[in-house]
Symmetry: C2
Subunit: 149 residues, 2 copies
């Protein structure tokens, strides 16, 4: 509530609002994924593999915004439980291309529907033009942040 001129005013900070939105989205996703026994990262991994079969552990990590070490832990569990398969040896380099098993695909189907409903809810009240604007603005922020100082 205060305004001392030197601090970051949270109520006017786009960064704070961005974190708030992201937090709300994460909570909503966890809510619908919990009944399926799936975490957000878990779902992200399966969704990435469905859209881009053959992604490596490191690529999946970047796509899910976690470290490759974290993704490795998850991938090993998914492999052990039969949702994902990886070849024993790398066809090239060290990267092991991962693929969904039929079981993984079935598991993803339910989760994907649940997540889609969250996204639909999030977009409620926004026009098509709004969504385009949101895309443009978020892309701009990502780009500026990635560019380094």
């Amino acid at each position: 509530m205060s305004q001392d001129g030197t601090g970051v005013d949270l109520d006017r900070s786009l960064g704070y609002l961005l974190k708030e939105a992201s937090s709300a989205l994460r909570i909503a996703m966890e809510e619908v994924l919990r009944p399926l026994g799936m975490s957000v990262t878990h779902y992200s991994c399966l969704e990435l593999l469905a859209q881009r079969p053959g992604l490596s552990n490191s690529e999946l990590a970047r796509g899910a915004f976690v470290t490759r070490q974290s993704m490795n832990v998850l991938l090993q569990a998914l492999e052990r439980d039969g949702y994902v398969t990886r070849p024993a040896a790398a066809p090239v380099g060290k990267a092991l291309p991962a693929r969904l098993t039929p079981r993984g695909r079935r598991s993803l189907a339910k989760a994907s529907a649940a997540v889609r409903s969250v996204e639909v809810r999030m977009l409620a009240g926004m026009t098509e033009a709004d969504r385009s604007e949101a895309f443009r603005l978020l892309r701009s922020m990502v780009h500026s942040l990635r560019d380094g100082s």
Copy 2:
């Protein structure tokens, strides 16, 4: 890259882009806060207390988007290290109003400057109108997500 009609297309998903932007912001903030020995939640707590002195543990937790249990751990450490003070007994109810010590304020000053530079960088390339739009759109998403299905 694929388009099977049933899945969520990550390249066109506003939710995915929101997560990407939030991740980029978090990484950028961690980068500038690390030299100060401060985590994002740590900084958030101090910033909240600077702007709204007397916030309770639970209120700080909501403001920093963590559970009150997590904030409690942090708050106890901050209290132990002399960045924050809380009265021994609650003036009303069980809520203990926390306040920054001079040391806490000094520590925050550097962090706040660092974080401000990140936000400035994120906003580079956006017009004033863009920022207003971004506010409106993000607020709309938060509101829709909070409203429940």
